[in-house]
């Protein structure tokens, strides 16, 4: 028998103490979870309870946690967030709606608000919530990979409702579906919401989803999870917009499971939040296509982090990722993109590019494109660029009659447009371009 001694250093003590506080903060959040109503099936309650077990011994991360090295979440833990009901008016929703998107489901603080929503019957598409949820979803809810991650598990433990979509076999849904998640703080109460999305695209189906996060009021914390299942040969076009107030906190997970021959195309925008983080995690089977486009805008003292992870488990997969950050003032953006190509994933063709535009001397970006390749017959590329607006570029435009500010605007717009132009819905494409520019002024 060996006896080992553990040396305790002052920094460990500090870490340990912080750990206890972070554990306590987590416990407080868990203790606030709202009970389900009678209409929610028992098996959904079991999903939540399973997450409660998962999270039991965990603590929330600090910037000493490897995955959070560049993004210090400690400011979040200083605020006593709690779940709360809020009244949101139709006018407030109108301001955040997209005129050419006919189906709109509004969730206020994570709970479906039928009065603010607008639905039309579409054949082959099922839209529902947790109330009387069909047993067939039992195979999906809470079943994606990575659910043990602490914020994912926190949502899994505390979600009160969910947007549930199912597209039937071989159905092509032309109408985009707008899921609008409003985190609203009434008065001064710091409010937390746990939005949840479940999408099941059956074999051969196609659907376009607009997952949209906005906030109202000063102090909100949105802890979101979306699970997206693509059956064989299905296609999901996913537009994810995080356009909350600049004071908001947002931590979101997008967990995608791609069966063979499926196509997942996503455009993720991160515009709001004093601290925001998005973790897209995709696992694919054979001959899938995955397109991940991202645009982050960070101004003032915003910190915006994207940590993506794409794992191929089989051969002949294609992936393209372009993530762009525009950072101004003393804001900070983080990009960490991991692509894992194991031995089984031969013939993978993957390209990853991180491009960053810094608009002020104090702006900062930490970017880490990361390819981990075990397979030996693949075509993979990755790269990162960091640049500023060049005086010569601005002068060129000025010499053609544009004033300095308009010249800079045009250049920034051009940088953002590469991502925004991929959005197929005109009102969203146009509206977001204006939103990006107005946030920069």
């Amino acid at each position: 028998m060996t006896i080992s001694t553990i040396e305790v250093t002052p920094s460990d003590l500090k870490k340990g103490r912080g750990n206890v506080e972070r554990q306590a903060y987590l416990k407080t959040l868990i203790s606030q979870r709202a009970e389900f109503g009678a209409e929610v099936p028992a098996w959904v309650k079991e999903v939540r309870d399973r997450n409660l077990t998962l999270i039991q011994d965990q603590a929330l991360p600090s910037n000493r946690t490897e995955e959070w090295r560049f993004t210090d979440p400690s400011s979040l833990y200083k605020i006593p967030f709690q779940p709360a009901a809020a009244t949101v008016t139709a006018e407030q929703i109108q301001a955040h709606s997209w005129p050419d998107v006919a189906i709109r489901l509004v969730f206020v603080n994570g709970v479906f608000a039928p009065g603010l929503s607008h639905q039309t019957e579409v054949s082959g598409l099922q839209i529902t919530t947790l109330q009387n949820l069909d047993d067939s979803f039992q195979a999906y809810l809470g079943k994606t990979h990575g659910s043990e991650e602490v914020f994912t598990a926190l949502n899994g433990c505390n979600f009160k409702d969910a947007a549930v979509l199912k597209v039937d076999r071989n159905q092509v849904i032309e109408t985009p579906i707008h899921l609008l998640f409003v985190s609203a703080a009434q008065g001064e109460t710091p409010t937390v919401a746990y939005p949840r999305v479940l999408v099941v695209a059956e074999t051969g189906s196609t659907v376009t989803l607009v997952e949209d996060f906005v906030s109202i009021g000063a102090q909100t914390f949105t802890n979101a999870v979306a699970e997206i299942f693509l059956a064989a040969n299905a296609q999901v076009n996913h537009i994810r917009l995080q356009r909350e107030e600049a004071t908001a906190f947002h931590i979101g997970k997008t967990a995608v499971s791609q069966k063979r021959d499926s196509r997942y195309r996503s455009i993720a925008l991160s515009l709001g939040g004093q601290l925001s983080r998005h973790n897209p995690e995709i696992v694919t089977e054979e001959q899938t296509e995955t397109i991940l486009d991202g645009l982050t805008l960070a101004t003032d003292s915003q910190v915006a982090d994207t940590h993506s992870a794409l794992t191929f488990s089989q051969a002949h997969c294609q992936a393209q990722q372009l993530h762009k950050c525009i950072v101004d003032d003393h804001a900070r953006a983080v990009f960490n993109g991991r692509i894992f190509v194991p031995k089984a994933a031969q013939q993978t063709n993957a390209a990853q590019l991180s491009r960053n535009l810094l608009l002020s001397p104090k702006a900062r970006v930490d970017t880490k494109p990361q390819l981990e390749i075990v397979a030996d017959d693949v075509k993979c590329a990755h790269g990162a660029t960091v640049s500023q607006l060049e005086d010569d570029e601005v002068f060129y435009l000025q010499s053609r009659g544009l004033d300095h500010d308009n010249a800079c605007d045009l250049l920034v717009k051009a940088f953002a447009a590469e991502i925004l132009e991929k959005i197929s819905i005109p009102s969203i494409r146009k509206g977001l371009l204006e939103d990006v520019l107005s946030r920069l002024r």
Partner: protein, 258 residues
Amino acid sequence: MIVENSEVILSVKDVTAEVDGNAILKGVNLEIKAGEIHAIMGPNGSGKSTLSKLLAGHPAYTLTGGEVVYKGKNLFDLEPEERAKEGVFLAFQYPLEIPGVSNLDFLRVAYNAKRQHLGEEELDAFDFDDLVRERLDVVKMDPAFLDRSVNEGFSGGEKKRNEILQMALLEPTLAILDETDSGLDIDALKIVSNGVNQLTNPNNAVLLITHYQRLLDYIVPDYVHVMQGGRILTTGGKELALELEEKGYDWLQPAGVA
């Protein structure tokens, strides 16, 4: 063409200028009247490009002495974009690539900035499209270039033609062509020169900055200035360019300078 008693468009008097603290222009004098074509020749580092960028308002170039009067106004009271809208046009030696901005949009924004300045109504996309297609002919440019990002992936000759297309739309009073001929093959040179010749008239003026006499076979100057060491050493007619081509610049050294 030299026209008696025509209006002075640009008057450069004893101009000194620096870039990054290095004095480049050391007393330049130049007067350009309406209708005239001037060429400035000179070896590398003589200050030719500095003069052109200074006149257009590049932020890295600082006037340290003398004055420049453009159409009766102090040029240095105007921001670069104001100079552009008042009719100063610089065709860049190295036109910049602007990924993400379509050439058509760029041309329209520039054109409308000038219209607005002149108190004219801006052209909508439809009318502008007609206008630009007509002007494309000046430089024999393929309309496909309108839909591409500004200068992105253009060849050297295509970039220079694109500059002259901008000139054709903006109809400047003073066009400064900074080595527009450099790096062009003879076909491209003819197209660009022909474009410029179509755009000259008794009310505007052109300042050509070049290394090569060859350009002046196609755009015939009224005056040729030789620049060296930040000064204009001598001025002559178009025959001076031929002499320079033959003898080089060394014979022009002023007395007392080795």
